[in-house]
Amino acid sequence: MGSEELLLEAGKSSELTAIFHTLAETDVEGEAKFSPMVCREIGKLIVCRTYATPLLELCHLVVAAGELSLQKGRYEFFFWDSGVAKSSSFFAYCQQLEFYANPHRLKVNSQTIDLTYKDGEFAIQYSRMPVLSALLEFMLSALGYCDMDDALKPLSKHDATKQDVSEAANSLSRKLYGYLKEHLPTAQSQRKFRKILSYCDNDADVIDDALILNFWQTASIDDEKGVDFKTFDSVVLTFIRVIQAVKSARDLSALRHAGSIGGDHEAGEINPDLLSETLESVEETITPLVQLNQSPFDQVKFLNKQEQTNLTMLLNAGELALRLPLSVLRSDVFSPPQARLTQALRRKAKNSELNEIIKEGPKETYQERQIIYQKLCRHIEHSLYASLHALATARSKEAISIILKLAPGIDFSGLHNMLNSEKRPTNVISLPSKSITDHFMDLLHDPDQVGEDVAKVMSQAETAYKGLARKGFKEDVRSNDDLVEAFSKGADLLGLISQDIDAYLERLDNLPLAGGGWHAQYSYDRSVFDAQFSKIYGGNA
């Protein structure tokens, strides 16, 4: 492929990246309209081509939206005048406007809105609405409002049928297919996959840290390959994806042989739903980090932006971080200086500045990087203790599960009896006066009441809570059910993340290093990366 074609291809796919960037940045009065998980869900629909069913749901939702509008058929208000795209916002919006809808056409229930057509019925769950809303926003950015509005026009008829909705959905599917054919080229991915497999003689099992570094040293300065493999972090991620893809393909093959999945498979044509499931399974380790940024977890600042950035490559690698420990470390340490070089190059910096950046090198050594991971582990443990205090303050029984995480084997029966498992009835005004809570917390710190072990853990929890000056740790949790949920479920996510960091640190501890220690390894790698950066960016350092 010539360089012009490569640029053309990159330009087409960058439009899609720009649309996803816009989707992620879309806000309602400063708050993100679509959660990171919703944006990721749309990404999966697009790359796995599983958008047909969601488009059908969306078209039914457009009918409902037009029905709920004061001006019949004006579906826009439902999607752009209902606030942040959350199930609860859509539910509230539907309840508020149900009065204006034709009761023979639309019913607002607690879990769904139900549509009745002459030729059938359809129900849409509120939990699906954030994704469907984001899908419409994506479609409008990709295809334009006029084209979309024309395609949705048949749905604004007062007597639109279920068949009309299906036809509109099919029409949108065809339009999106055509758009993606143009803007989601497969050639680049195909090329990357084939080059890497060819480099390791079609055997992904031989991929290790040394092979990845060698590949980058060659490919990043290769005129033809360089476009795809310039940065070390992108090379590491690509290798990780190749290994994950090969493993997933083997798993699928084994399932087919065992007859667990359908036998109508043709080589290279995986059922889109199966492909989507495969992606979900690969993303298992990064998902907790993404989830922490969405409601209700985002009410508590468990991890700040820098802490999340520090964990991204490690969690993207998942269990492969244990197989490619040096690559993950190299990527984390040497990617920032390479990013600075790329930025400098973009603003046409002189060679002397590039040389200066290369000379300056990374901001941290391998040992310092490991200390960052250790600090993250300690911070997560600290957050778990603080969450325990918050949940105990709210008298939530979820506190028990955190105690079990922090101190497995502890006798918590004393605590168990004191926590109230029953949800507060909504029609009763609770009187959690400060003095009652203080008394309750005193009891939880009293060894005679809850036992030595629990009292000690509760004291540590209180200290941790008071020491955290982040969002969520200072609010009154007693009257905030969402905050209770954020602390209890957030603790589970933190636990998963912590396990991955612990396992990785242990792997690094036991890693046999050629030079005898981390200092020697870093010095060696530093010279390799400095030399390679000079070759790529034309510096002479």
């Binding site: 796919s13 960058s14 439009e15 899609l16 990246t17 720009a18 649309i19 996803f20 960037h21 816009t22 989707l23 992620a24 940045e25 879309t26 309602v28 990721r40 990404g43 697009i46 790359v47 796995c48 004006r74 826009e76 752009w80 005048d81 926003e137 409008l140 950015s141 334009g144 409002y145 006029c146 509005d149 497969t186 680049q188 991915s189 195909q190 990357k192 996959f193 497999l197 079609n202 991620l237 690509t238 994806r241 190749v242 994950q244 893809a245 090969v246 997933s248 393909a249 083997r250 699928l252 093959s253 498979h265 080589a267 290279g268 995986i270 492909l275 495969t278 992606l279 690969v282 930025q343």
Partner: protein
């Protein structure tokens, strides 16, 4: 390379790689003008358009087309281009129960008042959109439509004023 397992692996890799690519935006990644912003711009007088939207409204035909469609659906009043016989600058337009008049300030000739009056309508518009023929769409916010009228003071070199004076411009009140 052609074994079924390798072909599957390639398909899975493509999806993973494309997903990484789609979600790889950094602060420096360009953005498209989203419909969310276009809707706010068309509806909400408090919405401050981003530089990207301002740029798109000047240069991007498809964004202008989308805004026009949106405005046509929700216009309180549509004051179309002036009659073909009109020559010179337009100082008054009337349609759909509203009248727009341009008047030079007595105190300062470089300042022009845009008077918006409801002749036989009870609604209060909050936004004025002016579209030049095949040109950009401008927006003015009506801060205080009181007792059936409002006035906006404009400098004589204001782009919106220039557009309002052109016979082939269209005006939408929202």
């Amino acid at each position: 390379m052609s074994s079924p397992s390798t072909k599957d692996a390639e398909t899975i890799f493509q999806a993973l790689d494309q997903l990484d690519h789609l979600l790889s935006a950094t602060d420096e990644t360009p953005q498209k003008v989203g419909f969310n912003e276009l809707f706010s711009y068309a509806h909400n007088p408090k919405h401050v358009p981003s530089p990207a939207l301002n740029n798109a409204l000047m240069n991007d035909l498809s964004v202008r087309r989308d805004l026009k469609r949106l405005l046509s659906k929700q216009a309180l009043a549509h004051l179309p281009r002036a009659a073909a016989a009109s020559t010179g600058d337009i100082v008054e337009r009337e349609a759909d129960g509203f009248r727009l008049t341009l008047k030079v300030s007595k105190a300062d000739e470089t300042q022009i008042y845009l008077l918006i009056e409801a002749i036989d309508r009870s609604e209060s518009p909050s936004l004025v959109f002016v579209q030049e023929e095949d040109g950009p769409i401008y927006r003015l916010v009506i801060d205080d439509f009181y007792d059936g009228e409002a006035q906006i003071l404009l400098q004589s070199d204001n782009e919106v004023l220039k557009a309002l004076r052109k016979a082939k411009s269209e005006v939408i009140l929202r």
